[in-house]
C-alpha cells in the first residue's frame, strides 16, 4: 500500500529505494511500472498474472500454501505460448499414446520448470484445470508427466496448452518403446538383485548351521539335508541372477576382449559345479554361500552404476527434448504448426524472434539478425534479409521472417553434420576399462594357477586335487575386483553430478584421468558467447538515454545494452528501427525529448551525413581489435562511442591453469575470425600449443583426427554444433553449459553450470577417482593372493572362503565410498 504512495511522488530514486511489493505468484519484486495501486495482488509480469488467474479460477490457490517461500526465485513461469498443434497429428497419437479402457488415451510428456513439491502438487491437479484430463501423475526421477485424457472432450494440444499456461512447457518424450525397453531392463536387473539377495540370505543361514555342525558335530543326515537345501536355493541365484555374468563372459571370449565377467563366470561355474558334484557324492566341500553372496554383491555394484549412469543419460535426453521439432507452415493466409519432419522443399515457414530455425532455406520475407554461433562459431550475429540463406540450428534474434524451404531433416547442413558425428562415433574404438584390462591378465594367471594346483595335488593326493582346484577358483573369484570399479565410479558419478559435471559413462572418468591435449572452442566456451559492453567513451549520463532507445528491441546489441546498463527506463516517445541502427525520441523527467541515434558506423554516417574524425578513428580502432563499435548521436551530434565484444569467461584463465597443473596442454580451434581469436588468446595469457581461427566443422574434425593419429590423447571442449563431430572423434568430448542440443548428443561429458571451472573439476575429480579404483583393485588383489596361498597349500576350507570374500569386499567398498573425488575445490 505504501508503494502506491511512493509511485506518485517524483522523489529522487537513489536516496531511498521504495519497499517493493512482491509478486503474488512468484514472489519476485514487482517493477515500479507494473504496480497497480487498486488491486490487492501485484504481479511482476503477465505470465505470473495469468497463472494466478487460472489457479484461482480452478480453486487451486492451495498451491501458494504448498510452496516453499524461500524457493520463490525460480518459480517465475516460462511460457512458450505455442499452440502445440503438432500433437493432434494422427502420426503422433500413433507413436506416443496408448489407448486405455473407455476410449481414453495415455500420453507422456517431459515437463520443464518443475522445481519443488508444490509444482508436483499443481501438475497432478491438472484435471481441475482441464476437465478432459482424468489423471495426471508426475515422475520426478524421469521428469515425466503421465496423463490420461479423453480425446473426445479435448484434443491433446489443448491439454498441452493448459500445461503451458501454468508455466510448465510440455515436450513429447522420445518414442515410448525406447523408454519401455529401458524400464524393462531396470526391472529385470532389480529382480535379479532381489533373487540373489534372498538366496544369499537363506543359504547363509544354512551355511552357518553347516559350519557350526562341523565344529560341534552334526549327524550326517542333517548335513546332507542342508547341502541339498543350499543347492536348491543356489541354483536359481546362479543361473537367474548370475547369467548376466555368464553372457558377458561368453561375449568376452568370443570377441577376445578382456572383461571382468570372464574371471567371474569361471569362478562361479567352477564353484557351482564342484559344489553340486560334492552334494551328489555326499562328501567334499560346498561353497554355495560364497557363490550367492558373490552374485549379490556384484549385482549391487551393477545396479548402482546403472542408476547413476541413467541420471546423466536422463539429463541429456531432457535437454534434447527441449529442442523445437516443429515449424510454422504458411498455407495461403493461415499458419499451422507442423512437425519439422513433415515439411517439404518449397514450403514457406515463419520463424519468430527467439526461435530456432529448423530448416535450410532462403528468406522470402522480412529481415532479422541471426545467431549462428552454435553452427559456425561466429561470435557476432549475422544480419539477414530477403534472398539470404539461413540454416537449421541458427536462432532468430530480432524479428520474424519467412523462409522458403530448400532442404529439411538430414539434408540440411545441420543434418549432414550430425551424420558425420554418428559415423565418427561408430568408428571410435571402444574404451577398454582399466579393471577389464586387469581382469584380462588376472584370468590368465588364475587358469595357470589352477592348472598348477591340479597337477601338483594329483601327484601328492589325487583324491583332493579337484577339491583344492575348485577352492582356488572360488576364492579367487574377483568379487572385490569386480566391485571396485562400479562402486568407485557410481560414487564418483554422483559426486560429479553434484558439482555440475555429468558423465555419460564411467569409462570417460578413466579417460579424463590421464592428461593430454585439450582443444577448446572459443565462442561460448572460452568466452561468454554473448556480447557485452567493454568500452564506453563519452558522458556516463547518456547511458540511460541509450538504454531507453534500445529497450524495446530484440537485437543482440540492444540486448547487450539492456544487460550492461541498469537503471529505470526513461519515457520513449517515438522509435524507429532500421537495419544497422535505431532512432528514438527520449524524454528525461521534466525535460524536452531528445533525438537519440544509436547504430553502426555506416548507419550513423548515412543518417548524419558525416562523422567527426575522432569518432571515426576510435570506432575503427575498436573494429581492428576485434570489437564491435556502436556510435551514439544525441540531437544530431556524435557524443559517445560504445564497443562490444564477446568477453572471456571470468574463470577461464584460472581453470586452464588448474588443468595445466595436472599436465594438460591446450589448443584453441575456433570458427571465428583469426583476429578475434588472437585477441582472446592474448587476453587469456595461458600458453597454448596452437590457436587457429576460421576453422570449419570439417577442419575441426580433421585437426582432432590428425592429433589422434599422432598418438596424442585429445579432449575436445566446445558448445556448438560445429564442435560436435570433433567431439565425437576426440578421446572425450566435453560440452559446456548452454551448448547446442546436437553438441550434447555428441558429447561424453557435459556440464550443467556455466563456466570452465567445471571442466577443471572434472579432470581433477577423474584423477582422484582413478586413484580410488587403483587402490580398490590393489586391495582385492592382495586378498586374492592370500586366498591363493591358502588354496594352493590345501588349507582353504569353505569357511575361510566365506570370511575372506566379504572382508575383501567391505574394505573395497569402504575405500570407494569414503573417497573424496569430485569436490568444489577452492570455492566453498
Amino acid at each position: 500500500m505504501s508503494a502506491a504512495v511512493q509511485i506518485g511522488t517524483p522523489a529522487p530514486v537513489r536516496v531511498c529505494p521504495p519497499p517493493e511489493p512482491n509478486c503474488a505468484h512468484c514472489g519476485l519484486p514487482v517493477p515500479a511500472a507494473r504496480i497497480e495501486p487498486k488491486s490487492e495482488a501485484q504481479f511482476c509480469c503477465d505470465g505470473c498474472e495469468s497463472v494466478f488467474a487460472i489457479l484461482r479460477g480452478a480453486g487451486l490457490t492451495e498451491y501458494y500454501a504448498q510452496r516453499d517461500p524461500s524457493d520463490a526465485r525460480s518459480a517465475t513461469p516460462q511460457r512458450s505460448k505455442r499452440k502445440f498443434e503438432e500433437l493432434d497429428e494422427p502420426a503422433f497419437r500413433q507413436s506416443h499414446c496408448q489407448p486405455q479402457v473407455g476410449g481414453a488415451l495415455r500420453c507422456e510428456f517431459f515437463v520443464e520448470g518443475v522445481h519443488c513439491s508444490a509444482c508436483v502438487w499443481l501438475l497432478e491437479r491438472l484435471p481441475r484445470v482441464t476437465p478432459a484430463v482424468f489423471e495426471a501423475r508426475y515422475d520426478l526421477t524421469r521428469s515425466v508427466l503421465q496423463i490420461v485424457w479423453d480425446p473426445s472432450l479435448a484434443p491433446l494440444s489443448e491439454v498441452a496448452r493448459a500445461l503451458d499456461s501454468l508455466g510448465y512447457t510440455p515436450h513429447p518424450t522420445y518414442s515410448t518403446t525406447l523408454a519401455a525397453e529401458q524400464r524393462k531392463g531396470d526391472r529385470a536387473l532389480l529382480l535379479r538383485l532381489g533373487i540373489a539377495g534372498a538366496a544369499a540370505g537363506n543359504v547363509m543361514l544354512m551355511a552357518l548351521a553347516l559350519y557350526s555342525g562341523e565344529y560341534a558335530g552334526m549327524a550326517a543326515e542333517y548335513a546332507t539335508f542342508f547341502r541339498w537345501g543350499s543347492l536348491a536355493i543356489a541354483t536359481p541365484a546362479v543361473f537367474w541372477g548370475g547369467n548376466l555374468f555368464f553372457r558377458g563372459g561368453f561375449a568376452s571370449l568370443r570377441t577376445r576382449t578382456p572383461h571382468m565377467d570372464l574371471p567371474v563366470s569361471l569362478g562361479l561355474l567352477a564353484g557351482y559345479l564342484g559344489s553340486a558334484v560334492n552334494t551328489l557324492r555326499g562328501q567334499g566341500e560346498v561353497y554355495f554361500d560364497s557363490l550367492c553372496t558373490l552374485i549379490f554383491l556384484l549385482l549391487v555394484g551393477r545396479y548402482l552404476q546403472r542408476t547413476h549412469q541413467r541420471r546423466s543419460a536422463k539429463a541429456s535426453e531432457l535437454l534434447n527434448a527441449l529442442a523445437p521439432t516443429t515449424a510454422r507452415l504458411i498455407e495461403g493466409e493461415a499458419l499451422r504448426e507442423v512437425p519439422a519432419s513433415a515439411l517439404k522443399v518449397g514450403d514457406v515457414v515463419e520463424v519468430r524472434e527467439g526461435e530456432r530455425v529448423t530448416v535450410d532455406g532462403v528468406i522470402c520475407e522480412g529481415s532479422s539478425a541471426l545467431d549462428t554461433s552454435l553452427l559456425t562459431g561466429e561470435s557476432f550475429p549475422e544480419e539477414v534479409s530477403v534472398g539470404d540463406r539461413v540454416h537449421a540450428g541458427t536462432s532468430n534474434l530480432s524479428a520474424p521472417f519467412r523462409v522458403r524451404v530448400e532442404s529439411v531433416g538430414s539434408d540440411t547442413r545441420l543434418g549432414r553434420l550430425m551424420h558425420s558425428v554418428e559415423t565418427t562415433q561408430r568408428e571410435r574404438a571402444p574404451i577398454v576399462r582399466f579393471a577389464d584390462r586387469v581382469a584380462g591378465y588376472f584370468v590368465q594367471v588364475i587358469v595357470a594357477l589352477a592348472a598348477f594346483t591340479l597337477l601338483v595335488w594329483s601327484r601328492l593326493d589325487a583324491s583332493h586335487a579337484i577339491d583344492h582346484t575348485v577352492a582356488l577358483l572360488v576364492v579367487t573369484c574377483p568379487c572385490a575386483l569386480g566391485m571396485a570399479t562400479p562402486l568407485a565410479v557410481s560414487a564418483a558419478l554422483r559426486a560429479a553430478a553434484r558439482c555440475g559435471v555429468l558423465f555419460k559413462g564411467g569409462e570417460f572418468i578413466e579417460e579424463l584421468a590421464r592428461p593430454g591435449i585439450i582443444v577448446f572452442d572459443k565462442t561460448g566456451t572460452l568466452t561468454e558467447g554473448r556480447l557485452a559492453l567493454v568500452s564506453w567513451s563519452g558522458d556516463e549520463a547518456l547511458k540511460p538515454l541509450v538504454r531507453a532507445a534500445e529497450a524495446a528491441s530484440g537485437h543482440p546489441i540492444a540486448r547487450a545494452f539492456q544487460r550492461s546498463i541498469s537503471g529505470n527506463a526513461l519515457r520513449c516517445e517515438a522509435r524507429e528501427e532500421y537495419p544497422g541502427g535505431v532512432r528514438a525520441r527520449i524524454a528525461e523527467p521534466g525535460e524536452d525529448a531528445r533525438d537519440v541515434l544509436v547504430g553502426s558506423i555506416s548507419f550513423v554516417r548515412a543518417t548524419l551525413g558525416s562523422l567527426p574524425i575522432w569518432a571515426l578513428n576510435l570506432a575503427q580502432a575498436h573494429a581492428a581489435a576485434g570489437r564491435t563499435p556502436v556510435l551514439i548521436a544525441i540531437d544530431g551530434e556524435v557524443s559517445a562511442i560504445a564497443a562490444f565484444a564477446d568477453t572471456i569467461r571470468a574463470d577461464a584463465a584460472t581453470s586452464l591453469k588448474r588443468l595445466a597443473e595436472l599436465g594438460f596442454q591446450f589448443e584453441v580451434l575456433s570458427g571465428d575470425d583469426q583476429r578475434v581469436v588472437d585477441a582472446v588468446v592474448a587476453e587469456l595469457g595461458v600458453p597454448l600449443l596452437n590457436a587457429t581461427g576460421g576453422a570449419s566443422p570439417e577442419a575441426k574434425l580433421a585437426t582432432i583426427s590428425a592429433l589422434r593419429a599422432e598418438g596424442q590423447r585429445v579432449f575436445m571442449v566446445g558448445d556448438g554444433v560445429n564442435d560436435a563431430a570433433a567431439m565425437a572423434a576426440a578421446n572425450v568430448g566435453v560440452a559446456v553449459h548452454g551448448g547446442a542440443e546436437a553438441c550434447l548428443s555428441a558429447a561424453d561429458v557435459f556440464t550443467t553450470r556455466p563456466g570452465l571451472e567445471t571442466v577443471a573439476l572434472a579432470a581433477e575429480g577423474s584423477k582422484r577417482t582413478m586413484r580410488v579404483i587403483r587402490i580398490g583393485i590393489a586391495l582385492s588383489l592382495a586378498y586374492n593372493a592370500l586366498g591363493v596361498a591358502l588354496a594352493v597349500t590345501g588349507r582353504l576350507d569353505p569357511l575361510w572362503a566365506a570370511v575372506l570374500m566379504p572382508l575383501s569386499s567391505i574394505s573395497v567398498v569402504t575405500a570407494a565410498l569414503r573417497a573424496r573425488t569430485f569436490t568444489q575445490g577452492s570455492t566453498p
Partner: protein
Amino acid sequence: MSIIFLILPVTLLLSAGAVAAFAWATRSGQFDDLETPGIRLLHDESSGKERATERESDRKAD
C-alpha cells in the same frame, strides 16, 4: 531335531513367497519411481470437509 526336515522346506516356501511378492512389485512398477511418492505424501490435502465439497463440485461438473 527331525522337525528340521519339516521346518526347512516351510522356510523355503516362505522365502519363495517373499521373492514372488518382490517379483510382482518389481514387474508392476512399484520401484520405478522412488522420489515422487515421498513428495506426494507431504502434500497436505485440504481437510476432510473441504475434500467433501470438492468431490461435490466435481460431481456437479460431471
